[in-house]
């Protein structure tokens, strides 16, 4: 039953996303605009960060949209992790499809020295972006604040000259630059581990936050409940 409920959540959010045609268009247009605005090897990094930005934003709004309906879905029998996992599967799928699309675009446009590494870089970037958007949505109360936090994270990555391990997109940037620059060491093990660590941490945070948020405060009845009306309360009969 859990699997079916997860897949129904995935399917329904898939319908919702596909019916937002402008959103689907912008999902491609935003990373493409950032990619085209860069010069030289930076183009790939900008395109990758644009991809992270677009996917994280869609993830943020997908979860925020569930804030009102999720408690009622939980009442109807869904568990909080099922609600979260259904969206994760959908968004990671969308992210992977976009990563492949941009890998084709960048491979044709830039002739990167390490095309296989570029594919890994884009998949890792999309993979982190989903839990990043979801974690922000789970932790920040409203959409506007969430979007501002997200803009801050991506903007810092774009203007920061030296990559920092403290930044959640550190691993993505490292692998993107390794794919784009032939003179860099080809190893991406440490960067991939960093990305996996960040993604796992963001997932753990999201799960705890969402389970707390849509938790039901119910308990089964005792065999003999106390009087329905507290002693001394006035009760009138017609």
């Amino acid at each position: 039953m859990t699997t079916r409920r997860i897949m129904v959540i995935c399917e329904m959010h898939g319908h919702t996303l596909l019916r937002r045609r402008l959103t689907m268009l912008l999902l491609v247009a935003l990373p493409l605009a950032l990619y085209l605005s860069g010069h030289g090897y930076v183009r790939i990094e900008f395109g990758g960060l644009g991809l992270a930005w677009a996917i994280a934003t869609v993830s943020l709004f997908t979860l925020q949209a569930g804030r009102t309906i999720d408690p009622f879905l939980a009442l109807s029998g869904y568990r909080p992790f099922e609600l979260l996992l259904g969206r994760l599967i959908l968004l990671e799928g969308v992210g992977a499809a976009l990563a492949v699309l941009f890998w084709v675009i960048m491979s044709l446009g830039e002739d990167p020295p390490r095309p296989a590494t570029l594919l890994v870089a884009l998949l890792v970037t999309a993979g982190i972006a989903v839990p990043m958007g979801i974690a922000i949505a789970a932790l920040v109360p409203r959409e506007l604040e969430g979007v501002l936090v997200l803009i801050g994270i991506v903007a810092v990555a774009m203007v920061m000259e030296n990559n920092s391990v403290l930044h959640p997109l550190y691993g993505s940037r490292e692998i993107l630059n390794t794919a784009a620059l032939a003179e860099r060491d080809a190893g991406i093990g440490a960067a991939t581990l960093h990305a996996l660590g960040v993604a796992s941490s963001l997932w753990a945070v999201s799960l705890v936050a969402w389970m707390t948020r849509v938790r039901l405060h119910l308990r089964p009845p005792s065999v003999a409940p106390k009087p329905a009306v507290a002693s001394g309360s006035p009760v009138t009969t017609d």
Binding site: M1, R4, R5, V8, I9, M12, H15, T16, R19, R20, A65, T68, I69, P71, F72, L73, L75, S76, G77, Y78, L216, H217, L218, R219, P220, P221, S222, V223, A224, P225, K226, P227, A228, V229, A230, S231, G232, S233, P234, V235, T236, T237, D238
Partner: protein
Amino acid sequence: MTILTAVTSTAAPLAAQGIVKRFGDKAVLNGIDVTVQRGEVVALVGENGAGKTTMLRICAGLLAPDEGVVSIASSPGFCPQDPCLMDLLSTEEHLTLFGAGRGMSRDHARDAGLRLLTSLGFHGSPADLTGELSGGSRQKLNLTLALLGDPEILLLDEPYQGFDRNSYVDFWDLVDRWRDAGKATLVVTHVLTELHRADRVIDLPATPSADTRVSRR
């Protein structure tokens, strides 16, 4: 007028005792007790701001009380005051979504949901997106989603808002059928003309105190 100190002696499907809820410094509910037996319809009334919706949400487990205990026998069907729907999903997809939560197959949820919608006078195609439905039709779907899976306990927050006259009458006929079927129904209402259709009325005090006026039909 008779002063009673006890209403129930057997296990009730829904029993909320000594419920206190504050929002900031403001106490909305102060020591409220609500019990609903099987086959009983209880109306929850009170002025605006008396805490009717808050009490219902606490009974459903959607909100935690600051003090007091809610005991509930099974997962209730809950109909919120404002329809909680996804505008880009169709009526049929909502039935699938909520039906899956209740363990219903796609076909079962669709058939049962469409039967309920028909009984409420829903006019529309199952394929219509809910964002394009009228307010009354949205509310009928909202109520149907609460009833899907035939829950034993129903918590309804002014579920007939936007209903036309015929649908409103149909709703109270449905309430009678739920009573006959042994369901425990708690309905928030401010339409006082239909209070005689309830077995008991709980009038929440406008200003928080321990006083709760209860009248029997």
